[in-house]
Amino acid sequence: MAAPMQCGVETQSSESSMSLKKALTAVSPLTLRIVAECPVTKARACELALPHCTVSTPVFMPVGTQGTLKGITVDQLESLGCQICLGNTYHLGMRPGPELIEKANGLHGFMNWKRNLLTDSGGFQMVSLVELSEVTEEGVRFKSPYDGKEILLSPEKSVSIQNSLGSDIMMQLDDVVSSTVSGPRVEEAMHRSIRWLDRCIAANKNPDKQNLFAIIQGGLNAELRRACLEEMTKRDVPGFAIGGLSGGEEKDDFWRMVTLSTDHLPREKPRYLMGVGYAVDLVVCVALGCDMFDCVFPTRTARFGSALVPWGSVQVKHKQYAKDFQPIDPDCQCPTCKRHSRAYLHALFKSDTAAMHHITIHNISYQLSLMRSVRQSIVEGRFPQFIQTFMRRMFLSRDQYPSWAVDALASVNITLE
């Protein structure tokens, strides 16, 4: 199960190639080298050098909420070519807690993951999972679901936990408002997120080892987004996330906010679109200029027997696959597809959890190879053709293309055939 050691090699090549290298502040443990930019769309292919290895972008980052990726070992994840994955600060802060993880040499040591980790701020989970949470200028106040104790998650506390976790990329605590809310609360949250960003920057004990990303807020209001972008880009943070989206808003609003954000974000810093992971969304948002993505969907849906394929998904548990002796995707190179048939996986779902692991591996492999193909096409200057082929394969006919995707792509000069 030896993993391809792309890491070291790519770091070297990024050092030797001077052409497009843009230096960040001297202390930032992050370097972004733009390898290629699509001449038609806003897409770009980069080498993102982080403390544990270099990440090729655009990249999809699988989510390992509790310090583990749903039944997959770190060796398996590594051999799928994963260079960065997520951990959740809220969950890990509760159990096993920052002190213990610090004793285990950070989350890397605790889960024995040799490559990069990104941790969220914990704010999103708090607002979405914990009912009794109250947001004030101080932070998010909530009752622990484990012992009922009242806890305050302040920007300082969030960064302190993330410092203990030792992630390569930390996220600022932001004031999260549902993307379907509008009005003064959105504006308040945007301004507060800026103030909290400054507190997070000040609280970071390891700026030489851990990168703190800002999160652009402003809901679906273009004015607020622009204001937030203007303020936050004044700060010398190593990267930016586009937040407050992917929460049930209209796709038409979603893509407009994404493209507005990338328009105003500095070219030489990575852009991370939070919570996005459906294949079509990934391809479109790469075209809009985003570099990094994460989503629980591919691994969550795997446990229900849904395998992702270039034409959508295969619901392995459905009866129609009981006697289907081909692999999930005959063209897929993952360990599952190389060995097992839909029929066997269908049967195994009735007998053992290993069935879920097989689909999880396939889905992670699908997401990662999709992003590798996207990247390859950008490097080779044929991303626009890639999009055409991708869309044709994903949808039965042109009239099934989602209109938001058609519009979004048209905004970056791609007319779908």
Partner: protein, 421 residues
């Protein structure tokens, strides 16, 4: 199939190699005493092929059960190429048993002509014809013939035991008759099933009669953990194996605890089912008993370790509290990683263990995975427990070869697992 015995010591077991396990895989062999690879529908529980093959020296024989397979008969019939290929297993010998040793099998569903198995969709009744049509589409290398093993309940009468022996012999004859008519099973071997409950003369009759049939080995049924008192079992097994030809293997289903394995090896058993590590995994535990027989300088200065209180356990059985549910309870051979004491224990599951889990992870991490109900807990525990259990069998064979079985028994009985270091 034939058993090459390299060493036989009366009353302390036989050491050998089982060869010719499969005509299509002539180089595969199984060292005995040994265990089979336990699976759910051909997959070792929780594991994919990648995680399974982090383990070295896996048993060359994989066990599948009709309770898993029966509901997929139609699928296998349209697949046509046998279960091994269906399950993506390439290089293994396939053994097909009737029941899953780790699953409960309710009583009261056996008739003169049928036995029942329980799959994910519930109970399925098998006649000999149905049983053989399942073997035909499974195409294992060997299987045990259909048997009525319902003699384990308290107060089973002599009459019922006799009936079980008669039925099982009749089933065997019918299976063999059909077997020889099926060209698909030409290369396949049959194990005969020895029944007889706890009645010596019925056991002997069953053994003698089964041995007269063209079977390659014997499955000693009805001795499953919890079915009878261990000392009674050992005496009965010893009596039965006396009657069986030396050169044919004896398989004991449903016994997996290391102490019981040792006792049954002494009574003459060669092959066990490998389900015990799975049961330990399901209760969130890690096997940690010792089986090293070379003196360990590190522990030499320690106080003598506590010895298992076997008497207490026997009492439970004698009180008639024979319950297969007992199999879900922790044994002294394991530690419970959910226990808070392991929360900040940064040591491996077992010091010196070479398995993937111990080489890469710590008890504290396993504790965390268990309390957060994460799927990886089952994966890592299953890897370690399987590795530990296979190590035990290897040590058992080495001890037989070097006359150190007594020492091994003492070592295994030490409650070493209770130490948290």
């Amino acid at each position: 199939m034939h058993l090459e015995l390299t060493r036989v010591v009366q009353g302390s077991g036989r050491l050998g190699v089982l060869r010719g396990l499969s005509r299509t895989r002539p180089h595969h062999s199984l060292e005995t005493p040994g265990c089979l690879l336990y699976t759910h529908l051909g997959s070792v529980p929780h594991l994919t092929q990648d995680t399974l093959h982090t383990l070295k020296d896996l048993p060359s024989v994989t066990q599948v059960t009709l309770s898993d397979i029966a509901e997929h008969q139609e699928v296998l019939e349209s697949f046509k190429e046998g279960f091994r290929k269906f399950a993506g297993l390439h290089d293994t010998v396939l053994y097909c048993s009737l029941h899953d040793p780790a699953a409960l099998c309710p009583a009261g569903y056996t008739t003169n002509k049928t036995v029942s198995v329980w799959g994910s969709g519930g109970r399925m009744e098998l006649t000999v014809t149905k049983f053989m049509s399942l073997q035909k589409c499974t195409q294992p290398d060997w299987y045990t013939s259909m048997a009525d093993g319902e003699t384990w309940q308290v107060n089973t009468t002599r009459k019922r035991v006799r009936k079980s022996v008669d039925r099982t012999l009749a089933h065997l004859d019918e299976c063999l008759l059909l077997h020889h008519k099926l060209p698909e099973l030409e290369e396949v071997s049959v194990f005969g099933v020895v029944e007889g409950g706890d009645i010596v003369d019925e056991r002997l009759r069953s053994a003698r009669e089964t041995a007269k049939r063209p079977v390659v080995g014997f499955c000693l049924d009805g001795f499953q953990t919890g079915f009878m008192e261990p000392s009674v079992r050992a005496q009965l097994i010893a009596a039965v194996t006396e009657e069986l030809p030396e050169d044919k293997p004896r398989l004991l289903p449903g016994v997996g605890r290391p102490d019981e394995v040792l006792a049954c090896v002494e009574a003459g058993v060669d092959v066990f089912e490998g389900f015990f590590p799975f049961q330990v995994t399901e209760r969130g535990c890690a096997l940690c008993f010792r089986f090293d027989v070379t003196p360990d300088p590190e522990s030499a200065g320690r106080a003598p370790p506590a010895v298992l209180e076997l008497n207490k356990e026997e009492e439970v059985v004698r009180n008639g509290n024979v319950n297969r549910d007992d199999q879900t309870q922790m044994t002294p051979f394991e530690i419970n990683l959910k226990d808070k004491r392991y929360e900040d224990d940064f040591g491996p599951l077992v010091k010196g263990c070479g398995c993937y889990s111990c080489q890469n992870h710590q008890r504290a991490y396993l504790h965390h995975l268990l309390v957060t109900n994460e799927l990886l807990a089952g994966v890592l525990l299953m890897i370690h427990n399987t590795s530990h259990y296979l190590g035990f069998f290897k040590a058992l064979r080495a001890a037989l070869a070097s006359d150190q079985l007594e020492l091994l028994k003492r070592r295994v009985m030490e409650a070493g697992g209770r130490e948290s270091d």
